[in-house]
């Protein structure tokens, strides 16, 4: 077939090809070959127009597969899309992909391609040895080879492939709120939207297809005197003109979540190209996720046609009856030349009528009903079409390669007896269309926990009653099992009016339009068509086309004792494909029911989960990726740190300077070198740290002091105005959770500091206790973390430097350790706290953050002569560890009490109230002598820096598993002490000072260390008190 001939495209004719624009031909490539289609085509319609039968290979047996459906339910025509590596999209349904110029796609399976697949040999000859569950029964011996087997099993798995490069496109989210969300813009959805919109409330109408209208686009009826497609067009125009209505085509409602939260995936540019085009030089998102909160949701999602299950029903050329109509009417494409139709209902006759009207040959209609008599049946008969009653296609025959149907075996069948009741007749044809009835799209309703219920009258599951509290939800049209157009339109108008009224949304019931109706005869329930051979011996009859699940597989599962439909599904993998069983599940259930001697509702239903159709990760992620993945929090001095070459450490969301490597002799310092230099600068001269990230909470109220006493482990009764104190906080289980210095600003006024990571949690901690347990205490808490910029000036020269910049009297006797003063620093009002986390003379300067850089730069302007050195968190850690100061979260892990930390001095046992954590300290486990306790460790070899996290043992000679007695929590090289040192927790450590412990490491070395006091430097604290 010539590549660009579009041999199966029908000549222009009124009423055909309404979706396509013949004036806009588009080039595309499939499996490396070039073709032509038209704007408005889907990839599937364009492939059919070009006579491409084999689109893909099947998952397990590698059988050739073609287009089956015309929408979201397509199981077979799965392609890999994208011309460039970064634009690859795996597993695109050709039936949902709009054609665009330059589109490039290939079947996801098959080597070298779907047409000439080598793997099919495996399917052909290995098939009999790959019954359902064969993995579980094999590859067990020898055990050592399993990982090798698995490698090959994995290779055969999967459909498309992930791109190898990062996505060039962006995706975004839009939060929407509305009174009424209508899902589906077919006849029921349009009517529902029209009804709701008349009330003036906010209405969102979405539909997954390229254009609105749904089945109206292929219907023959007239509505209010207009042909159905024209009525749809005018209605859409009316809605579009209303300010309170938002129309979202190409938008799929994918998940229906609690309390009427629905996610809509709008494909904004996927019909335009591989990547989103810029508009006026501006980027826009490739697709958008609308996060909709609706007061009322109207599900008008329609119904999917069910195929019949017969032998060979997977060969290209087997289609759904409705899909045949859609391709002819919407795209002016004939999916073949000679059609055999196999049906259980009247509606599907349209396929034959359309086929014939378009010039195709209808070989016969096999109707499973004994006496079909509806209006469409009569029309078919009148048109001279052969209708074979009481029969069905039992088998599709194909050419040698299985690339195309070449005949249909039709036989009279006995549905009740599940057997043939006559000889099979072979009808030559190239297309078999089938219809076993319709399955309402109950997926979305099921997401919220609403179980579908079976209705015998429509032979399908419909959404059940809303679970009691799921209010604001109604189902109309095909989704509710209402198929006839007049009933459907009237139902939508009336039902929606009533349902909205129940939700307090009042609209005037609009008059449903007048519709000319078509009389339909009753349908019959047929799912699995009997064959002349038993199911297990018949040619493969596919139930789930994507996962290659056959009727025999379901039968075998029941033979093997899988009686729950969930077991059957899991054992066979039915419904686990990317189509989530839209076509196959009910047929599969019917087969299981027959095997188990049950009815379909007894066998169960299927629980659908989001997504309705797959959504790419990027769309769900939205802009919360890459540089916007998560906030980076900056202090007021951040740009200075960047400009001065700081390396940053992530602490919570904050970026904190970690160390400032300098270029020495043209070479950048290592972290070790930089930290050694920074440490010595603080110990010998003066350093400055940006400490702005510490949490800061302003506490005001007459009961502030008592509140602190209840929250902290230590006492606050006597802290005088002007003084500061270190405090420790526990949870009520007695375990340390945070610490920090709190300052008494006034009798009723305190400023609490918390750890950087703990700031938000501690504010909430104070609030929860205040709001829920002690509301009688008069106190208010307000976060001032961001308001104050904090600079810790520390080192022997700190006073001299600061004196140059401030009016505050820094004399050691007038401004003592653990006091604060207010004054001016570098012209800026400041609070100065004389507290120290380094053990050196320290002043913590706090100014309003907008003025921070004035002060910071003034410090450096004056600091040169004192050797002022900026230092980062790593140096801060070394300096504090030398002093034995803990870091909550590093030296503690939620299992350490204040006493374990050796901080009895920080516990107010005699306070008049039972502060948080106190009671737990007397529980049996917290009183154990051998609890892990914080100690110092001095490696016997001075140059050894123990690994943080190294495990400690008393006996290094024991065999594995060894008895571990603790671990190293903090470990550094101290340039001051010129040796490695560590903080650690050791069982009973407080009583083991001087004892030796061992640390067996991964490299085979075992380090020895001595347990010492955790205070390595200036134990008297004389240096901070100068």
């Amino acid at each position: 077939m010539s590549a660009s001939s579009q041999t199966f495209r029908l000549a222009p004719k009124a009423g055909l090809g309404g979706e396509i624009d013949r004036d806009k031909p588009l080039r595309f490539t499939f499996n490396g070959k070039s073709y032509q289609g038209y704007a408005g085509d889907t990839l599937a319609s364009a492939l059919l127009a070009n006579g491409v039968d084999v689109v893909n290979r099947s998952f397990k047996y590698s059988r050739p597969r073609g287009v089956v459906a015309a929408g979201a339910e397509e199981p077979n025509a799965i392609v890999q899309l994208g011309a460039s590596e970064a634009a690859q999209v795996p597993n695109v349904r050709a039936t949902q992909q709009a054609l665009y110029e330059g589109l490039s796609a290939r079947g996801t399976n098959g080597w070298p391609d779907a047409q000439r697949d080598m793997m099919s040999l495996v399917g052909k000859f290995g098939g009999p040895f790959m019954p359902v569950g064969f993995y579980y029964k094999t590859f067990k011996a020898p055990a050592s080879l399993w990982m090798t087997y698995e490698k090959y099993i994995r290779k055969a798995a999967g459909l498309g492939r992930a791109p190898g490069e990062s996505d060039p496109d962006i995706y975004d989210h839009m939060n929407r709120h509305c009174e009424v969300l209508v899902v589906g813009a077919g006849p029921a959805g349009l009517m529902a939207a029209l009804t709701a919109a008349a009330g003036g409330v906010r209405v969102i109408l979405c539909d997954e297809q390229e254009t609105f209208g749904g089945s109206l686009r292929d219907r023959d009826e007239t509505i209010d005197g207009l042909p159905a497609p024209e009525w749809a067009r005018q209605t859409i125009e009316r809605l579009a003109a209303m300010a309170n209505v938002t129309l979202l085509p190409r938008t799929t409602a994918n998940g229906y979540h609690d309390h009427n939260f629905v996610t809509l995936h709008e494909r904004r540019t996927e019909h335009l190209g591989d990547t989103a085009p810029m508009v006026d030089g501006r980027r826009r998102s490739r697709s958008r996720l609308h996060r909709v909160r609706a007061r009322h949701v109207v599900l008008a999602s329609g119904a999917h046609e069910r195929p019949l299950v017969y032998a060979g029903n997977d060969v290209p050329g087997n289609l759904l009856a409705g899909a045949v109509s859609s391709y002819i009417r919407r795209y002016a494409v004939m999916p073949g030349r000679r059609l055999v139709l196999s049906v259980t209902n009247d509606h599907a006759y349209r396929a034959a009528l359309d086929w014939q009207a378009a010039g195709g040959e209808v070989v016969a209609i096999a109707d499973a009903r004994a006496n079909p008599d509806g209006e469409l049946v009569e029309r078919a008969r009148a048109a001279g079409i052969r209708v074979i009653a009481g029969s069905a296609v039992i088998e599709a025959t194909s050419d040698r390669k299985g690339h195309r149907v070449n005949g249909a075996r039709v036989a009279a069948i006995d549905i009740e007896g599940f057997r043939l009741s006559g000889e099979a007749e072979v009808l030559a044809c190239d297309t078999i269309a089938s219809s076993g009835g319709y399955s309402p799209v109950a997926h979305l309703a099921a997401h919220t926990g609403i179980r579908p219920v079976w209705r015998d009258d429509i032979l399908g599951f419909v959404p059940g009653q809303a679970v009691d509290p799921v209010k604001g939800f109604s189902v109309v049209g095909g989704a509710a099992g209402v198929y006839a157009l007049p009933a459907l339109l009237e139902g939508a108008a009336v039902k929606v009016t009533q349902a909205l009224a129940a939700d307090g949304i009042h609209v005037d019931a609009s008059e449903p339009p007048a519709v000319e109706s078509i009389r339909e005869g009753e349908a019959i329930g047929l799912y699995h068509v009997p064959h002349d051979k038993p199911t297990m011996r018949a040619p493969k009859q596919f139930v789930d086309l994507q996962n290659d699940v056959t009727a025999a597989a379901i039968e075998l599962a029941t033979i093997e004792g899988f009686e729950s439909i969930e077991h059957v599904k899991r054992y066979t993998a039915m419904g686990f494909g990317t189509d989530q069983g839209k076509l196959g599940n009910i047929n599969g259930m019917a087969i299981a029911a027959r095997c188990l001697g049950q009815t379909i509702p007894e066998t169960g239903t299927t629980v659908f989960r989001p997504n309705y159709t797959p959504v790419n990760f990027g769309a769900i992620v939205g802009r919360h990726c890459k540089e916007l993945f998560e906030p980076e929090r900056y202090t007021a001095m951040h740009q200075w740190h960047v400009a001065h070459g700081a390396k940053f450490e992530d602490v919570g969301q904050w970026k904190r300077p970690w160390y400032y490597p300098q270029r020495v002799n043209g070479k950048l310092e290592s972290m070790h070198e930089a930290v050694a230099r920074e440490c010595l600068a603080v110990r010998e001269k003066v350093g400055v740290l940006d400490a702005s990230t510490l949490g800061k909470i302003d506490i005001q109220g007459p009961d502030a002091r008592e509140f602190l006493g209840r929250i902290y482990t230590n006492g606050w009764e006597k802290l005088a105005v002007g003084k500061a104190r270190y405090g420790l906080m526990c949870k009520d289980d007695g375990m340390v959770m945070d610490d920090g210095v709190t300052t008494c600003l006034g009798d009723n006024h305190f400023l609490m500091t918390t750890t950087t990571g703990g700031a938000a949690a501690i504010l909430e901690w104070l609030e929860i206790w205040h709001q829920t347990e002690w509301p009688e205490l008069e106190v208010y808490f307000t976060s001032v973390t961001d308001h104050w910029a904090t600079m810790t000036l520390t080192g022997p020269e700190a006073r001299n430097l600061l004196a140059e910049l401030t009016d505050v009297d820094l004399d050691r006797d007038s401004f003592k350790f653990m006091e604060w003063r207010e004054g001016v620093v570098a012209g800026v009002p400041a609070r100065i706290y004389r507290i120290s986390f380094t053990g050196e003379l320290s002043f913590e300067i706090n100014v309003q953050a907008n003025y921070a850089m004035q002060v910071w730069e003034s410090l450096f302007a004056h600091g040169n002569k004192y050797g002022l050195t900026p230092y980062g968190t790593e140096t801060m850690h070394v300096l504090r560890a030398e002093k034995g100061f803990i870091i909550v979260g590093q030296d503690t892990d939620g299992s350490m009490t204040p006493e374990d930390l050796g901080m009895h001095w920080c516990v107010g046992y005699k306070k008049p109230y039972s502060w948080i954590g106190k009671r737990a300290l007397t529980r049996s486990d917290t009183r154990r002598e051998d609890r892990k306790q914080l100690v110092g460790l001095k490696p016997l070899e001075a140059d050894v820096v123990l690994e943080e996290g190294a495990q400690i043992v008393f006996d290094p000679k024991q065999a594995i598993p060894m008895r571990m007695v603790g671990h190293v929590t903090s470990s550094y090289y101290s340039p001051t002490l010129e040796r490695g040192f560590a903080l650690a927790v050791v069982k009973g450590g407080h009583k083991r000072l001087g004892e030796r412990v061992y640390l067996p490491m991964a490299d085979g070395k075992t380090h020895a260390a001595e347990i010492v006091s955790p205070i390595f430097y200036d134990p008297q604290g004389s240096r901070q008190n100068v």
């Binding site: 979540h257 609690d258 309390h259 009427n260 939260f261 909160r293 926990g449 679970v467 009691d468 509290p469 799921v470 949870k731 009520d732 289980d733 909430e764 901690w765 609030e767 929860i768 206790w769 709001q771 829920t772 347990e773 509301p775 039972s914 106190k918 009671r919 737990a920 007397t922 529980r923 049996s924």
Partner: protein
Amino acid sequence: MFHIYCPYCAEYREEEEFHPRGQAHIARPADPEATSDDAWGDYLFFRDNPRGVHHELWVHAVGCRKFFNITRDTRSYAILETYRMGERPTVTANGPEAVPSATATLTGALA
């Protein structure tokens, strides 16, 4: 995703503004030191875990920062009512006699 009526902001807000904080109406023992180890363990760790009506504490964390109570069905996720701290629920699993006492206000602030 829940749509939660904040009794302080007096309107429905999205779940993302809130944090759940466990069971509501847990009173911290009035005299912890006089409480047995068992009772203290119960207070710390043993929570109601009903399949059905549950009274729980939430905080409008990104909003008014107030703690309040939600009565919710843990099967259907329906919110049956929300009420302020210090108030008592009107909906309970076993009728009004099962309403927790008004004095019991604390949270399970142990998370």
